[in-house]
């Protein structure tokens, strides 16, 4: 049952699955500011997914929103972890481009799962360097899921750096996912770039 709650929460937070990571030079955000930021961001997200726009329009709007509220570049670097230093500047640039693209595809994939959701913002508490805002996400026909949003101050404004579902960090999950690809190919970082490109091609062909 615990795992069920966790997995349902993971679905609720899924559009940001590939994006959640921490930023090294982040500043801690005050609890009230973090709650207000999540409240505002959540309302924008809900109004997009529940609007009468077409799927393509919604996908574009969501991409813009995510780029505004999520620290995507910092997330990408966190996900690379120790392999960041193994990349050439060109490879790093290529990785960031692919990472943004994959995030867009993942958001498009999840739009339907977000139909009809609503959320309430609960408390906020500091965990490590992050301010984590707790929310309860309700989807039609599903049990409410508790989802935590880690917020850091990046370049003077609050940004989401992680999603935590029942104690499970999505930035760590993504880092382990990517590390799995690299270690499975004898430590070759280029294998990760190939896998990301392959995934993008596969999704593009399927659409």
């Amino acid at each position: 049952m615990y795992f069920r709650r966790f997995i349902l929460g993971a679905v609720a937070a899924a559009p940001l699955l590939a994006a959640m990571a921490g930023a090294a030079q982040a500043q801690t955000v005050a609890p009230d500011a973090a709650r207000a930021f999540i409240q505002q961001s959540g309302q924008q997200l809900v109004s997009i997914v529940n609007s009468s726009a077409t799927q393509a329009q919604k996908a574009d709007q969501l991409r813009d929103l995510v780029n505004r509220i999520v620290a995507v570049d910092q997330v990408g670097d966190y996900v690379l972890g120790r392999y960041l230093n193994a990349l050439t500047p060109q490879q790093h640039q290529q990785f960031q481009t692919l990472f943004h693209q994959l995030l867009s595809y993942n958001i498009t994939y999840q739009i339907k799962a977000y139909q009809g959701i609503s959320f309430t913002v609960n408390g906020a508490a500091q965990q490590g360097n992050d301010m984590v805002v707790d929310t309860t996400i309700t989807s039609p026909g599903k049990q409410p899921a508790d989802v935590g949003w880690a917020v850091d101050e990046i370049d003077g404004s609050p940004k989401i750096v992680d999603v935590i579902v029942a104690g499970t960090s999505l930035r760590i999950t993504t880092r382990n996912d990517y590390a799995g690809v690299i270690t499975d190919h004898g430590g070759q970082v280029s294998a990760l770039l190939d896998a990301m490109q392959g995934q993008i091609t596969r999704i593009a062909n399927a659409q």
Binding site: L17, T168, N176
Partner: protein, 291 residues
Amino acid sequence: MNIKYDLSTLGHEHAAEEAYKVRLQKTNDTLAVQAKRVCCLGAPALLLATALSGCAHAPPRADTAAYEAYQQQNDPIEPTNRFFYAVNDKIDRYAFKPVAQGYVAITTQGVRNHVGYFITNIGEPARMVNFMFEGKSRDAGTSLVRFVVNSTIGIGGIFDPATALGYQEQDTDFGMTLAEWGVAEGPYLYLPVFGPSGARDVWNIPVEFYATPMELAPESAALNDFGWAQTGLHLINTRAEYIQPIDQIRATALDPYATFRSLYRQSRASELQQINQRNVLTQPDWVWPAH
């Protein structure tokens, strides 16, 4: 040819025949139960033995970062685990998932919720015992109250009035009990059919098999059938809830095996942390009133 019937022995023969039938029935039941026991108890040992046949190559110690990452990953039999993951993936795509989809098509979310309550309720006695072994007597009490309330007012566990009364479900299992006793999670294991596990958590399988209320009831064919039906329903109902998230992980993860491994490890660590953080007073407030 004279055939003489001895009426006095005819009754005995009949009785013997009946006794034989009963013995046969019992033997069949016993065989079924024994088969299940062998499966459950033998599974961990068999898997550990099989697992040794495929080991990952550790990076050299000189490569400190890679070696530390390998140690942290703690998946020394990764090739074997990946093989079983691929097997399960096939079984799931061609058997479990289609069945779960059919189940979803003929049931409503409400029905599936009630099936979930029912399955959870059957697991409460095992949770109570595990909480007791963990020294969490308040949590054990909660499980007991939940089982009693939901089995009676909740009509055999189909409803969950205990939550409304303030006794919310709190999860644990034998893997958590071992963790509380100081047993480390050990190497990661991916089991055929059962899925993600570990050297510590694998012992949860035989324990869960025995720790059901059905084990306390007298052995009977009907109870066996109920046990199998309940296990099947549990599998299908649970898989039905995972259709969307599993599809999502398969579609978006670059390495689904590594993703499931990470999710499993994190969720187990979080579960243990929750049990310890919720470590409420083990005696009622009225025994030692607050000053």
